[in-house]
């Protein structure tokens, strides 16, 4: 089921603090307490997701709080992706056969 802020373990206050800092840093405010709670849940979920990305990464990247930490993956995809291409762009094959960059 969905990960909720209160399920995250013994430091819910730290989570709320982190969320408050996020709101200040990225100038976020929410219209209602319900919306605030909903965004806090998403924020918590994203922290867990960042942890997973951190574990998967084989380079030197760091993942964590970003300007998009209060958005779900779906919301983010709708706002910032390139939906027409989702699921793969049309098959292009290998259109360029030349070794020389100046030949199209």
């Amino acid at each position: 089921g969905p990960l909720r802020a209160q399920d995250l373990g013994p430091q819910p206050l730290e989570l709320k603090e982190a969320f408050k800092l996020f709101q200040i840093q990225f100038n976020r405010s929410y219209l209602s307490p319900e919306e605030h709670a909903h965004r806090l849940d998403i924020f918590a979920h994203n922290l867990a997701q960042a942890q997973r990305l951190q574990e998967e990464d084989l380079g030197t990247a760091e993942f964590g709080v970003t300007p998009f930490s209060d958005l779900t993956e779906e919301e983010f995809g709708q706002l910032y992706g390139y939906r027409r291409a989702a699921g793969g762009v049309p098959s292009m094959g290998r259109e360029i056969r030349s070794e020389e960059p100046e030949e199209s």
Binding site: E56, F63, V65, T66, F68, Y80, I96, P101, S104
Partner: protein
């Protein structure tokens, strides 16, 4: 291919970081960034072109619902260039009936556009010689990215599912922690060379608050997140003409 190349080090070569806001127009932002940079390094002309004109005059309907870099270049060719960002500013929404390609003076245009080989060595060679190019990648690890070099596998970031276009502006290598460790620890036994992590430098269009001041780095040499799938660039000069400046290391 030089060891490293960073077009950001040429003062004014790269236009400021853009923010696509609530509009899926990475394709237009990447194309605009490509044209701007080529004009800057080829003609020393510091133009900012109109992304909104690309959206309003898009051949494929609502450009805020996504699009392709090649369509942006075709729009530029069809309209004989682009107006300036100042004259035709970004609104973050499409106004198709407002496509007025002849209303404003053109500040930049292109001769044609090409797709490069799907080969990271060739891409680096072209980038260092001719300037930044656009690439389309799988954006999965970017949403929660803060800094550093992302190195993914085809399992963690499918190179076939590319869904985000950005501008490739340079490349380099960083000595990894393991490399430093191997160099130090193994000094008493077998000396091992440090393990550098080669990377690409990419300009995103999610504002300067995201990532490394709007930029990010991807591992180079492993086709991380499908970076080799669609390497496209406009050309603003004849094919044999190189820019006035070379890429700084």
């Amino acid at each position: 291919v030089p060891f490293s190349c960073d077009w950001r080090k040429v003062a004014g070569a790269i236009s400021p970081i853009k923010d696509q806001k609530n509009c899926n127009c990475c394709w237009a932002m990447a194309a605009a960034g490509n044209i701007e940079t080529l004009w800057r390094i080829s003609f020393w002309d510091f133009v900012d072109v109109s992304v909104q004109e690309l959206l309003d005059c898009s051949r494929c309907g609502d450009g805020c619902q996504g699009g392709f870099v090649w369509d942006a270049f075709i729009t530029v060719l069809n309209n004989s260039g682009l107006a300036s960002e100042k004259d035709y500013p970004f609104q973050g929404k499409v106004r198709a009936h407002r496509c007025h390609p002849k209303k404003y003076q053109k500040v930049a245009w292109i001769q044609d556009f090409i797709m490069l080989q799907n080969n990271e060595h060739r891409i680096a060679q072209y980038l260092a010689t001719y300037g930044p190019i656009t690439v389309t990648i799988n954006m999965k690890p970017l949403r929660l990215y803060r800094k550093g070099v992302i190195k993914a596998t085809p399992t963690t970031c499918d190179p076939q599912l590319v869904d985000h276009s950005v501008l490739l502006v340079g490349f380099g290598s960083v000595k990894s922690e393991e490399g430093i460790w191997a160099e130090t620890v193994s000094s008493q036994s077998q000396p091992q060379p440090p393990h550098p992590t080669p990377y690409w430098i990419l300009k995103n269009s999610w504002g300067a608050q995201w990532g490394e001041k709007g930029y990010f780095r991807l591992h180079r040499g492993s086709n991380t997140c499908g970076i080799t799938k669609f390497p496209l660039t406009a050309r603003v000069q004849k094919p044999d003409m190189k820019p006035r400046v070379s890429c700084p290391p």
